[in-house]
Symmetry: C2
Subunit: 377 residues, 2 copies
């Protein structure tokens, strides 16, 4: 076994999930994540945890849902049965580790949208029980994910392990500095002037909001490995922003999005590809036209975009905004924040000709933070 698989498992179990002896751990293993599953089982055996292993097979899920669709309308009714076993198992669990890495990222592509929604609705209580555990989601590098990223298999393995096998303690410290700045700040401005792209000049308020140090650990209320971003919940955006990082919305490739904000609301938008998908998001509800998140990517182990939000939004030299729902962790107690049925992230490359200021002070210039070497004035 590649020694990095074992290191990945150790980061997941120790840094991310903080597994203690006696913990009841549920591990879900995707179709091609077996090697990581073996390494995680080994780490959990060493730590003295109890393990229950689920099989996260998208092909089995697809077969179940398609058969349900075909049988719907007959005597047994259209609904899904009570998922009492899944609920019971997550209610009894302390930790949930999801090991992604299937054989086909389009493995459930032909399942009807109504079926998905009805299935998700029937499983609401399962989801809540799962989210009440110390849960962490990661991926094992598979050929399917390499293909999605447009990379060779060995190349993609290097990419994933560079992102996952960080000095998380050090990165968490660096991100704590960014959190302090955002927590104390009142206004953020992103300003980019590049020859090859429309200008960005956007200001937004963050007064009273709390930033989250997303350091890939439940100890930081951060549930993805890799992570490496600091995010907060902005409001009252004014100005315009250009998102040049490719993304996929509801299976549609969307390119070069431009949003114009007035009094916190999107008043104009365009996209060079996928504009209809973007329009559909913005029309979901009133909250879909307002910001839910400002995130600052700080994981320098991620050096390229792979059309996977788990990696893209954490990349150093990027900032991202999401329209739609804000995270509760960023809001003062009792304040509702922006509400919406959607939360769609869009990413800007800020590696060149770009500044990020908080209350007029430059925090990042051309991708370099002010506490890093090479930050000039």
């Amino acid at each position: 076994m590649d020694e990095r698989v074992r290191e990945h498992a150790e980061v997941l179990v120790d840094w991310s999930a903080r597994v203690d002896p006696g913990d009841r751990v549920v591990v879900s293993v995707a179709e091609d994540a077996h090697d990581l599953g073996v390494a995680v089982a080994e780490a959990l055996g060493e730590r003295g945890a109890a393990v229950t292993t689920l099989y996260g097979s998208e092909e089995m899920t697809r077969a179940y849902l398609k058969a349900h669709e075909d049988a719907a309308g007959d005597a047994r009714g259209d609904g899904f049965p009570d998922p009492a076993v899944d609920r019971a198992l997550f209610e009894a669990a302390d930790v949930y580790l999801r090991l992604g890495g299937g054989r086909n990222t389009a493995g459930t592509a032909d399942v009807d949208g109504d079926t998905r929604r009805s299935y998700a609705k029937a499983r609401q209580a399962v989801r809540e029980a799962r989210m009440a555990t110390d849960w962490v989601s990661t991926v094992h590098p598979t050929r399917s994910l390499a293909q999605q990223a447009g990379m060779a298999y060995e190349e993609y393995r290097d990419f994933v392990y560079d992102a996952v096998l960080r000095d998380w303690e050090a990165l968490a410290g660096e991100m704590a500095e960014m959190k302090r700045i955002l927590d104390a700040g009142e206004e953020v401005r992103i300003h980019t002037e590049r020859e090859d792209a429309p200008d960005t000049d956007l200001t937004m308020s963050i007064a009273g909001r709390t930033a989250v140090n997303s350091a890939a650990s439940v100890a930081y209320d951060s549930h993805n490995l890799p992570s490496g971003e600091v995010f907060t919940a902005p409001y009252d955006a004014e100005g315009e922003i250009f998102f040049d990082v490719p993304m996929t919305i509801d299976s549609t490739r969307v390119r070069n999005v431009r949003l114009v904000f007035e009094e916190g609301e999107v008043v104009d938008f365009s996209a060079e590809a996928g504009e209809d998908a973007l329009a559909s998001v913005l029309e979901t509800d009133p909250g879909a036209r307002r910001l839910g998140e400002l995130g600052i990517g700080m994981n320098r182990g991620i050096d390229r975009f792979t059309d996977s939000i788990l990696f893209d939004e954490k990349m150093g030299d990027t900032v991202h905004l999401a329209v739609g729902r804000a995270y509760d962790a960023c809001l003062p107690d009792g304040e509702p924040g922006n509400d919406s049925a959607v939360h769609v992230d869009m990413i800007s490359d800020v590696s060149a000709d770009s500044i990020l200021t908080v209350d007029g002070e430059v925090v990042q210039r051309d991708g370099t933070f002010r506490w890093e070497d090479g930050f000039g004035n």
Copy 2:
């Protein structure tokens, strides 16, 4: 997908497990049983059941147990933690379907025996909760199992589906006839005189005992697919018997076993290979030297021995005896029957030069039952 995989899933779900709409079904999928898992998920979606999928990975189990061994003795103690999640999930389940079919039948070969026993002991309550469901165990034909059987992959697939895809209703009816004979009978005699093997002439009492029609369905209290045997709990064996079908006891190949019984107890034994393993079984406890089972194989879809007890003991033209523990289902209420920590099956080929009589009447001659064509006098 081979259409037989789908037929296998349908037999399992409908004939064997009798799944109803709304049933909570736990499916355990071995490392190479994914195709059968997909077919079972499809069948369960059609039937309107709820599905929870476990991953039955022997390599993960081995990694967990070996890591536990290596860590034992440190501060956290030697014991296994409470498997509360597994217990909760089986307690919430109606049906458990185990889909065997790993990648290596020796996948846990280097796990220490004490570790296995300690793990099994810690999971006693899980096992009890699992046995309280309508459980069925089957196997998907894999290359690993083909290798164990000494067969080519395609050849082994044909072998498995011939055994599984029977007319179970018809076979259950035929087996009911055998059950009637055994339930009414008081004494069974097996008598074989072949030129190439030691003689068998064994009589045993079955008075007061109840035979089980093991028709591969929970409706018959039968939990393996394939099945196809009728068994009861004999006692007071007298005489000798020769078992010519190869078998494996605790990873040791055992060949050509001869047992001599007096007053129900083994008083002499021999084996051409593996005699020490046989001796070790017989010395376990007093019950290990007495009979726990007489079984009559009636599945004519199984046409050869494959060193897998799931198939071998069900084969038509065979009878088997087990030393050790008797099954409760064969005993009158309140009667203890033979008790032992072991239950080891041994099989005789009765296809030629052989008769099976019950109370002096010939029931099977040279492998042919008296209700079949070709049964002469």
